[in-house]
Amino acid sequence: MRNAAEMRMADSPQKARWRRVTEQRMNTRLYLAKLIDVLLPVLAMVIALVVGVLLLFLLGTDPIEAYSALIQGALGNISGITQTLTKATPLLLVGLGICIAFRGGVINIGGEGQIVVGALAATAFGVGFRDLPALVLLPLTLISGAAAGLIWGGIPGLLKARLGVNEILTTVMMNQIALRLMNFLLRGPMLDPEHVAAGTSIPQSAALPESIWLPRLVPRTLFHSGAILAVLLALAVYFLLWRTTIGYRIRAVGLNPHASRYAGIPVAKYVTLSLALSGMLCGLAGAVEVLGVHHRMLEGLSGGYGFSGIVAALFGKLHPLGAIPASALFGALLVGADKMQRAVQVPSALAIALQGLVVLFVVSSDLYVRRRTRRRVGDDGPAGPPAAEGNTRESIAEV
């Protein structure tokens, strides 16, 4: 295409002015449209909070008191802020995994299970090879967590790519299998020998050697250096998706598997890869939780991050960099809700209901984005999530 400036020179003065004005108008429209894209999730959050006010009001509690306790708890002091960031860390890692899956046109509901197997594998490795030097043991522990997640996500990926099995169902099943596996391991093979000796029956593993605990970023808090790792990985995922051939192909398959196949992209391979990478990041989230927060494997470690991570990823417009502020926001919501429960006795479950509403509003607002995108043919800017789910996902199964 010819350069716009070149074209302008060739035009008569009148035509050039007309062109300039049109260009300006289009730029303004584009800019506004992009602004709205960014603001839509925020709007969804606001509506969810308003519905929350109504709910609290109906339940006879003071919404203002509850919300101020929530905000105060999450952001009011150093302890709140560090807790928020500590919770945001696994949310970001899971959210990044969800971004990759979505961009690749697959849905990963298996975050919970992938976190669990990641945490189990990391713990087993860290405890089992505790005599290795920390410099070797720490990365290997993280890698074993990531590898377990990779396998747990890769199996549904392979089944989808090769046999056309719906990945939503398999990831759900893999969640249940992972939970059963955890129950079994924590009550048998991985049960802390000290606990057995002491006669207590708390189902948890032995502690990891202190030398590989992730260093604290703020002393006397839980805030650990896993957060830095997560942010670096967000940059890496951005680079992967938008600056490498692999990422380009993942996104191409997500947008249109048929066209990708005609373009010579091995669709099956990239479907498997998206789910495997997605699982890998979730598995890593589990390993980081173990190494950074709990220092051992225990029940309830996944803490719903597998689902909250989906919410954070959607909120961040399925963009790895958008997931950073989004996971901080939902980390704050979770921490604030816990504090609110303690301070004013409003159940923290409110946060889960609000997350559900945010998802419902965000996915509903996509209709608006899609309709506009269709009108505005020719704009090649990032147009939100991959087109209609049905078109992409279901047809991948047929390819």
């Binding site: 339940l59 099943m173 945010v358």
Partner: protein
């Protein structure tokens, strides 16, 4: 030790539990079948179940009749179905993800309501066993099949009823048409969105009754997240049963049989690693799906939003 499991009375007990425990799976999966046959994947079944379980329990807890509890659950289920329909039919959102939203909403709201309105774990007296005269006197079989509470019978009645509605009525024809080829159905004057709203409301009502069957029929308590992912299994059972009601029945019985076995193994204190055993139905479901995914014909428009062309 193991032979304790194979005495006649234990076997009868296990099969009785199996028939009983299939109830929530049946209600939820049959409801989901309606939605999927019309082309909508509702992944929020678990959230609807929790809401139904809570409201049925709350009504009974406040001293109302058990059937009032069921009706309240149905009303809540219809409302949740409407919400899902609005988001995924009218707003044409990604069906898988909007289901997750509905699940989180139901999970959070039911816990919030439970903690605010009830507070601690309390029991109610739920549906009682209703032995069917004569039939329940058949040795063995009578106890297994005809000695259950009303909701259990109702769940099994829903199997032929759903089959009849889907395969032998005008509504069923419309549902199948909309799920298979919405464009053609629309051309023939069938309201695609209308049918999908209807199936999602039916599905919501049945999912809520599934929840109620737990809270006022089988367990007679309400706890946070008491379904424990059962609703997600129900969605998978529809695929497992290849969108046929008989298949759904088979899948439900398989899952409930394993649950029943686990229950009895624990009760008899038999040293079998039951966690490993309970993985089996999930692994089997994956294997079955892997073998059948290419062969079964699923509703062609499943999980696909419909928008009229201009």
């Amino acid at each position: 030790m193991l032979d304790e499991l194979f005495t006649i009375s234990t076997l009868v007990g296990i099969l009785h539990s199996c028939v009983r425990l299939a109830t929530p799976y049946l209600f939820a999966a049959l409801g989901e079948t309606f939605g999927q046959r019309s082309g909508v994947l509702n992944l929020g079944v678990d959230g609807i179940m929790l809401m139904g379980a809570f409201f049925a329990f709350y009504a009974v807890f406040e001293g109302h009749n058990l059937w009032v509890g069921v009706l309240v659950a149905i009303a809540i289920g219809v409302l949740m179905g409407l919400l899902k329909a609005f988001v995924s039919v009218t707003m044409q959102s990604l069906q898988g993800i909007s289901g997750i939203g509905l699940y989180l909403f139901g999970l959070g709201l039911s816990s919030l309501l439970f903690k605010t309105l009830i507070g601690s774990v309390e029991g109610v007296s739920g549906f009682r066993q209703l032995a069917i005269p004569l039939l329940s006197d058949i040795p063995g079989l009578g106890h297994i099949l005809f000695n259950h509470n009303a909701l259990v019978y109702l769940a099994y009645l829903m199997v032929p009823l759903s089959w009849f509605v889907i395969n032998r009525t005008t509504l069923g024809l419309k549902i199948r048409a909309v799920g298979h080829n919405p464009e053609a159905a629309d051309t023939l004057g069938v309201s695609v969105n209308g049918v999908r709203y209807a199936t999602l409301m039916i599905g919501g009502a049945l999912a809520a009754v599934a929840g109620a069957s737990l809270s006022i029929g089988l367990q007679n308590v309400f706890q946070e997240n008491m379904t424990n992912g059962l609703g997600f299994i129900a969605v998978a059972l529809v695929y497992f049963g290849s969108w046929r009601t008989v298949g759904v029945l088979g899948g439900s019985l398989l899952f409930s049989l394993v649950n029943a076995l686990q229950l009895w193994v624990q009760a008899l204190d038999i040293p079998v690693p039951s966690e490993v055993a309970v993985m089996m139905p999930y692994i089997m479901t994956i294997v079955v799906l892997a073998f059948t995914a290419r062969q079964i014909q699923k509703p062609a428009a499943l999980a696909r939003s419909y928008e009229r062309g201009e």
